[in-house]
């Protein structure tokens, strides 16, 4: 059963009192923006759109912070809002979204250029970017649900219950999508067969 986006961007299970972490929006952004932006970017494949959705996510989180109850982590709550915003975008702009998403996608080589110079040798950077690109290309062949669940599980290291909460899907559905995602990516990476 899907939750409707108009009812609330915040799940009922996440409501209680304000916590201090949410009171300073720039601090909130400083703590979580990288993860939310990365998630949205890899989910929608478009940099500009990802930046917009991420900013909206933090504004909505801040404006709705009184509704946060602290019975899920702040990051799970933020991913829930981000997921709802992505859905909202699909609903209102789905035609453009559909077309544009692949056009401005960033590849892993470009991403790897942002690795800190001092900490990474040129060889390690090339290797990391090659491996990352393989996974990224493989991820692009996944369905939207498989892809976002793969990101939440393997990049965000969220457990199944958290992913279920963030995506509004039953745990078993999450599991099914994840199994298919792993199997598909395994094939793309060229596994034992």
């Amino acid at each position: 059963m899907q939750t409707t986006i108009d009812a609330s961007m915040i799940p009922l299970s996440c409501r209680v009192s304000i916590i201090s972490e949410l009171d300073d929006i720039d601090a909130l952004v400083g703590l979580y923006r990288g993860r939310v932006l990365r998630y949205v970017m890899l989910s929608v494949g478009d940099q500009d759109l990802a930046e917009t959705i991420t900013q909206d996510c933090f504004l909505k989180a801040y404006n709705g912070r009184a509704s946060f109850r602290g019975d899920c982590s702040v990051s799970t709550w933020l991913f829930t809002i981000a997921n709802n915003l992505i859905r909202d975008h699909l609903r209102t702009k789905k035609f453009q979204f559909w077309r544009k998403a692949k056009a401005t996608a960033i590849d892993a080589t470009e991403m790897a250029s942002f690795l800190p110079n001092g900490e990474t040798s040129p060889e390690a950077r090339i290797l990391a970017s090659e491996r990352a690109e393989q996974v990224k290309v493989a991820m692009e062949k996944l369905s939207v649900n498989q892809r976002r669940m793969f990101i939440l599980r393997f990049l965000e290291e969220m457990d199944l219950a958290e992913i279920a909460q963030a995506t509004g899907m039953p745990v078993n559905t999450v599991k099914t999508h994840l199994h298919r995602a792993v199997t598909s990516i395994r094939k793309e990476l060229g596994g034992t067969r």
Binding site: D26, R38, L42, R91, A108, R131, L155, T183, R186, R193
Partner: protein, 170 residues
Amino acid sequence: MNSSRTQHLPEDQFASYMMGDAINAEAAAHLSACDQCRAEVERFGVSVQSLNVVSMAWSESRPSNSLRLRTSSRVAWRLHPGMTVASWGFATGVLLMSAIPLARHLQHPSRETAPVVLSAQESQKQIEQDNQLLMAVDRELSTQVASPEQEYGLDNELARKPKNRELKAQ
């Protein structure tokens, strides 16, 4: 068909293992004995970790503007729409008197503070245009399989509710 496929870790067991779930005894025994499968598991993990590191480096490098101004201007408006900078000192008493209702306001966000999807300024004309777009896109996508909209359950939502209500500004 490749018969060697079944001799290595089956798909479901590989997926379970990578997800951190339990695998059956046969798969566990195979994994401990098969260098090829262990190498595959390791490669999968290292590749995903590479994307993790690289994508995080990218997202952390993206500049972000302060959102404090945008949020503080909204709060100031809520305190008193007509309040000017010069009136702040004079208004201290008023603020103190309004402290309790303001606190209540923050504890129980109105429709405005609640994270509503569509802005109040969205005109009826825009809604009608959106509805037309949705219908056109629905027609266009009706022959395609597994669109992102279907996966997000939006098609079900659209089918359940009249589109005008669906898009009505909050």
